[in-house]
């Protein structure tokens, strides 16, 4: 019984680790899409910043510098997305897609040019990464049943960025629904004309929104390569940006429900990892491929019909054109 409980607690712990980049990206998506800009380039920006973080950390030895550069790169690509979609009123999906394709190729190419390791970055030492923060008494608490295990395994032992991700959910909620800036941001995604006639620049609001999205995406990328992992690998985001997008839609563009959706996807991922090699009666070992595909299948199923009617911000995807 105690063993089963420990297994469960460890799965929850893993859930949090896997869900962290999803949470950050989902919040990024909420900022961008609430302002009316579709952002499928979450994936690409996360990949670019994962690469940047790992490269800078490997070259200069500082995870903080890695994080900083990752965020800057991600925000630059947000600006590119904004320039195409806001200033030039381009198609938002196409622009996002272009960034994703560019990211996939660019990271590998530059990676080979710098490190000549087939697109990989060198393995990072522990001082080059964000390492786990052990909370006080975690070791001692392990022996206390139930609560102690939860404290030691689930709450303690995460790196800083996991906490940043959780904090970002509450910050997103606060900014969107409790500040005047949030009111304007939501208005610009629902009815930009109303914001324009109120004397506020729609363009400026939308640029601010995509920049915040870039910031959050950059943290998510850095988490993948220098906190959760210890190097960058080719296409290491593996669709997490899209899954975050799905979680955001599933959460109806709201922070807390989106967080829940991210945790659910994370949980599936964590279970999948634990189920590998488990024997199923009359069937034999659980096939690994089947397990790995589970979160993606769920994404499709959820988006296809089980989420009820998700009502997106009304002006989403539409460039704002001043009319007479």
């Amino acid at each position: 019984m105690a063993e089963l409980w420990l297994q469960f607690v460890l799965t929850i712990d893993a859930t949090l680790r896997v869900a962290t980049p999803l949470i950050l990206c989902a919040m990024a998506g909420i900022f961008s899409e609430r302002s009316g800009i579709i952002d499928i380039s979450l994936e690409g920006k996360m990949l670019l910043s994962a690469f940047t973080a790992a490269t800078v950390a490997a070259l200069y030895g500082s995870p903080w510098l890695g994080l900083f550069c990752a965020v800057i790169v991600s925000m630059i690509f947000s600006l590119i997305h904004g320039f195409a979609c806001i200033t030039h009123r381009g198609n938002q999906v196409i622009s996002g897609l272009a960034i994703n394709i560019l990211a996939s190729g660019l990271t590998v190419t530059v990676g080979i040019a710098i490190f000549a390791q087939g697109g990989q970055t060198p393995f990072l030492m522990s001082e080059q990464r964000f390492s786990a923060i052990s909370l006080p008494f975690a070791e001692a608490a392990k022996n206390i049943p139930i609560i102690g295990t939860i404290y030691a395994e689930v709450i303690s032992g995460h790196n800083l960025l996991v906490w940043v991700a959780l904090l970002s959910v509450f910050l997103t909620g606060y900014v969107l629904f409790r500040t005047s800036f949030g009111l304007r941001l939501r208005a610009v995604g629902e009815k930009p004309e109303a914001v324009d006639t109120a004397g506020i620049s729609v363009t400026l609001m939308r640029y601010q929104a995509v920049l915040i999205a870039g910031l959050l995406c950059g943290i998510a990328g850095a988490y993948l390569s220098i906190a959760h992992g210890a190097s960058f690998g080719r296409d290491m985001t593996a669709g997490k940006g899209y899954i975050a997008l799905a979680a955001m839609i599933f959460g109806h563009w709201r922070p807390i429900p989106s967080l829940m959706a991210c945790l659910m996807f994370g949980f599936l991922d964590a279970i999948a990892a634990r189920l590998q090699g488990v024997e199923i009666p009359f069937f034999g070992p659980m096939p690994t491929d089947l397990i790995l595909v589970l979160p993606y299948v769920l994404t499709v199923i959820l988006l296809a019909g089980f989420i009820g009617r998700a009502v997106p911000p009304k002006a989403i995807g539409q460039p704002y054109v001043k009319e007479r």
Binding site: T179, L183, A187, E190, E193, T197, K322, R324
Partner: protein, 505 residues
């Protein structure tokens, strides 16, 4: 005392169109000043310049004696100008309070801004009699209250000059009266009001002075008390206009359209139409009156076979089409039903097509348009269109010209020509004169009367109550997807119809 607004020599050009040409306009402080003009006369451009949406190419503006040089809505708001737009600038899923403070929050913190505004708005509401539930979601409010929110929004920003662009288009006659009461009380409090409209009756009812625009120029400034609707109409059009309508009593024939218990509900199971039943006889015009968005459009689409009803049946000439077995638009057209859609740009014509192509659209496999063995003869298509243009006075008479280059009135005449030339026994007409100049309105009304006299059954949907009242033999009033009443022409009064439009029986 300086003028509240003083504009001189305002010019604005869009591409090859001179939208405003050396406009001079002085508005005395505390006046209700009307601007009238036909569509495209340049009224909207002028107020957009005043509100800072556009920068004038040349000319000066003074607000209360101070030169006004800035050019953004934010600057105009700061100068004390507020505007109620024709299409409301409100976020439907925000509350009234959130909409009012948007862009003008008193604090970074939203809750504090809202509470601060609540206090101020209570005072404003009391002062001007503008009562609205401040915590209601705007999308749930009827349009007349949404308009109040717009007015409150301007007052909250300390507007001393209020511009209203076509404010009565979405109101019932009683709501219009209420709006005018509000405007009069604003005037008493010293607010200057600029009213843009094309309804002369309203100009006469509420304004002190009126300016007339035509073709981008300011034609006349008049004291309302010293003018008449006839004079204003003549100034707007530039020639004498027949104000007396052409309607006369005729004998109606047999019932050829029967609508029985039509219901329509949307995906959310809300009733858009409930229990609609009526008959229309040959040689009769039935006008469908109502504030926009009360089910008229849905009804028209069902009658034309574009949407299938959820329940009920329609009978044309004894052909019964029940909801269980709906017909498409083509089948209905084959029964002799023609349809002039409400929105000509969305569903009446294809703008990039030539006039000749549009004149044949929907009837393109008709031999009279030159159809033969799957092929269409361009010469015959053009020749046919030239005939129609002659008959319906479409100008310029170039069948090969792209449709988007015609004026709204001429585009509408082209659609009417196409539908009427098919000699239908039933004609469905939606908003036949929306965005159409007065000269063309006269002509279109005459054509509708002629069709009726030749035995056609006409169902006319329009938000212009004047149009409905002057053309219809019977008036059917709709509110919230239901028929509120069917009134004979002889019994119809604006007041009675207005009450029915508001849902009061």
């Amino acid at each position: 005392m300086p003028f509240a607004i003083s504009m001189s020599g305002i010019c604005k050009r869009f591409g090859s169109v001179q939208a405003n040409d050396a406009i001079d306009l002085n508005i005395a402080s505390g006046d209700i000043h009307g601007i009238v003009g036909e569509n495209g006369a340049g009224k909207s451009t002028l107020v957009s310049i005043l509100y800072g949406f556009y920068k004038a190419d040349s000319g000066q503006i003074e607000i209360s004696g101070t030169p006004y040089t800035h050019n953004s809505p934010a600057d105009s708001i700061a100068a004390g100008i507020g505007m109620v737009h024709q299409h409301f600038m409100l976020v439907p899923n925000f509350t009234v309070l959130e909409n009012i403070i948007l862009g003008h929050e008193s604090d970074r913190d939203l809750t504090r801004s809202i509470e601060h505004a609540r206090h101020m708005l209570m005072n404003l509401a009391h002062q001007y009699g503008l009562v609205v539930d401040l915590d209601a979601e705007v999308g749930d409010l009827p349009v007349s209250l949404q308009q109040r929110v717009e007015i409150l929004k301007a007052l909250y920003r300390n507007a001393k000059i209020l511009i209203l662009d076509e404010p009565t288009g979405v109101l019932t006659p009683q709501e219009t009266e209420q709006l005018f009461d509000i405007l009069r009380s604003l005037k008493e409090q010293g607010v200057t009001i600029l009213l843009i409209t094309h309804k002369l009756r309203e100009i006469m009812a509420v304004t002190d002075c009126v300016s007339v625009m035509r073709g981008g120029r300011m034609i006349a400034h008049l004291n309302t008390a010293e003018t008449t609707p006839e004079e204003l109409a003549e100034l707007m059009v530039g020639r004498p206009v027949q104000v007396q309508k052409q309607w006369h009593q005729t004998q109606k024939g047999e019932a050829i359209v029967k609508v029985e218990n039509i219901h329509l509900s949307n995906a959310d199971n809300q009733n858009l139409l409930s229990d609609i039943s009526f008959t229309v006889h040959a040689g009769e015009i039935v006008g469908v009156a109502g504030v926009a968005g009360n089910g008229q459009s849905e009804l028209l689409n069902i009658l034309a076979g574009i949407t299938a009803p959820s329940a009920g049946a329609i009978t044309y000439h004894g052909h019964r089409i029940a909801a269980e077995n709906p017909a498409n638009a083509q089948t209905i057209k084959a029964l002799g039903v023609a349809h002039v859609p409400e929105d000509r740009h969305a569903s009446g014509i294809v703008l990039p097509f030539s006039a000749a192509e549009n004149a044949a659209l929907g009837y393109e496999d008709d031999v009279s348009h030159g159809y033969k063995n799957m092929f269409i003869s361009p010469q015959q298509l053009n020749a046919r269109c030239a005939d129609l243009m002659q008959e319906f006075d479409v100008r310029p008479q170039h069948p090969e010209l792209t449709s988007s280059l015609f004026s709204g009135g001429n585009q509408q005449k082209l659609v009417l020509a196409r539908e009427m030339s098919a000699s239908p026994s039933v004609l469905l007409v939606g908003q036949p004169t929306r965005g159409v100049d007065i000269g063309a309105i006269e002509f279109i009304h005459q054509q509708l009367i002629n069709m009726r006299d030749s035995g056609c059954a006409i169902i006319l949907v329009s938000v212009e109550l004047d149009e409905i009242m002057s053309l219809s033999d019977r008036i059917m009033v709709m509110n919230n997807g239901q028929i509120m009443g069917m009134v004979n022409k002889s019994d119809a009064s604006v007041k009675a119809i207005g009450l029915l439009m508001a849902g009061v029986q």
